[in-house]
């Protein structure tokens, strides 16, 4: 799916929100996941403190709630095949 080269080129973009804080504006629980992902999982729409908005996967053990303060943590992005290069990105948990 993703070439190692595309993953490499996206590194800065993928890691930019690590450790950033924000709040949940909206959320959806994906039951039917697309190829390359294993559901179910929440996806949240987050507004960072700097007014930037983004979408990302939720990985905390508690359910995300609208308005909840959140932080970005590093996780693997999507499912990786046995021989493929691994892509890492930022996913979201309740703010510490």
């Amino acid at each position: 799916m993703n070439s190692a080269i595309q993953i490499w080129r996206r590194q800065k973009l993928n890691y930019q929100h690590l450790g950033r804080t924000g709040a949940v504006i909206s959320k959806t629980r994906i039951i039917e996941a697309p190829l390359g992902f294993k559901g179910p999982y929440w996806v949240v729409l987050v507004k960072l403190d700097r007014k930037t908005r983004l979408v990302g996967q939720w990985v905390d053990i508690i359910e995300p709630k609208i308005g909840m303060k959140v932080t970005g943590v590093l996780r693997r992005s999507g499912e990786t095949g046995k021989a493929e290069a691994i892509e890492y990105g930022v996913k979201w948990v309740r703010g510490r």
């Binding site: 690590l18 996967q57 990985v59 890492y88 996913k91």
Partner: protein, 352 residues
């Protein structure tokens, strides 16, 4: 032989551990095999182990621990790090170092040393020794040593009850940086002992059953510690805290008894009943907990153990307690966990 050197310029500048939030109990696993979970838990001395999420791996756990360690350091920026050494038995790639992935995420820059380390459960403490030596020699001013694992075990094997996940990061530095603890001395004790191994391309490790006890763990931990104490003319009673590698609760308790280590000394770093065995992060996580909860002036002795086999022993003296990010202390991380079923466990391991 390794010289009985006292480090003069190496201290702990930052420290942190990260334990994944999921837990599975011994009973939940035993049910699958129609075994008696209660008695297995009793024989191991633990009830549960930590399980990493499906999208967590050694690199992501290492980053979590490292970010916490960096946040607890003073005057240190990621680009100051001169070396990033990660010890693990579950590096995401067999070829392509975890060290450079983690360094890139942390923003270390280009000017640093890295290569991956493997020595079963003691690669992280070996990373500490190498980093300390780089600092003492003046080649670097500070370095990051991490022990991290998402442990794999064959379903149905005894190890399945204890093989957990976690990461611990220690930033060591010269006097250029404020020390939270001072590194005093290190030694190592190794042999070619085939108690537990994993061949290339094999998914799961193999082990020699009861042979992993006396000739392996006990010989290297007990003898290694004794030789360390002898080398530096120390006694067990010199230490307020002792941390031993914890493959389960029974082994370190038994080794402690033989070495004359009492319950009080073992208590603070004894994390195995809560989280199981996070392999390369085991002893280092115990050490981080001691650094989080210990008092200034207290001396710590750590003996790690890695199958194959060997042990590293080293001592530190706490200079001051860390006041930063106490909410991320291990004792607080242990409070918010989610128990999972065996099916979810398989899903997280990527087998479902």
């Amino acid at each position: 032989m390794i010289n009985p050197k006292k480090f003069t310029n190496v201290g702990v500048v930052g420290f942190g551990a990260y334990i994944p939030k999921f837990r599975i109990t011994v009973e939940e696993i035993a049910k699958v095999y129609e075994k008696d979970g209660k008695s297995i838990a009793a024989s191991l001395g633990l009830n549960q182990k930590a399980v990493a999420d499906r999208d967590e791996d050694t690199a992501t756990l290492a980053v979590e621990a490292a970010l916490l360690a960096i946040s607890r350091s003073s005057k240190l920026k990621p680009e100051n790090l001169g070396a990033v050494l990660i010890g693990s038995e579950s590096h995401p790639y067999v070829v392509k170092p975890t060290g450079s992935i983690v360094a890139e995420v942390l923003g270390v820059g280009r000017d640093y040393l890295t290569a991956d380390l493997e020595f079963a459960c003691k690669a992280g403490t070996t990373a500490m020794t190498l980093i300390a030596s780089l600092i003492e020699s003046g080649l670097i001013d500070c370095g990051l040593a991490i022990g991290a694992d998402v442990a794999q075990s064959r379903p149905g094997d005894a190890l399945e009850y204890t093989a957990g996940a976690g990461a611990a990061a220690l930033i060591l530095g010269s006097k250029k940086y404020p020390w939270l603890a001072k590194l005093n001395t290190v030694s190592s004790f190794n042999s070619d002992t085939p108690d537990f191994w994993r061949r290339e391309a094999e998914k799961y490790p193999a082990h020699a059953g009861r042979f992993t006890g006396e000739p392996a763990y006990f010989t290297h931990v007990v003898q290694g510690t004794k030789e360390y104490l002898q080398k530096f003319k120390q006694k067990i009673s010199d230490f307020s805290h002792v941390v031993l590698h914890m493959p389960n609760a029974k082994f370190p308790q038994k080794a402690a008894a033989r070495l004359g280590i009492n319950r009080e000394q073992l208590k603070t770093g004894f994390i195995v009943p809560e989280i199981g065995n996070p392999y390369s992060a085991s002893a280092m996580t115990g050490l981080v907990k001691v650094l989080e909860e210990g008092k200034a002036g207290e001396k710590i002795l750590v003996t790690s153990y890695g199958s194959g086999a060997g042990s590293d022993s080293f001592s530190l003296t706490i200079k001051r307690k860390n006041p930063i990010n106490k909410k991320d202390d291990i004792k607080n991380q242990l409070k918010n966990v989610e128990q999972i079923s065996y099916t979810k466990y398989l899903h997280f391991l990527g087998k479902a």
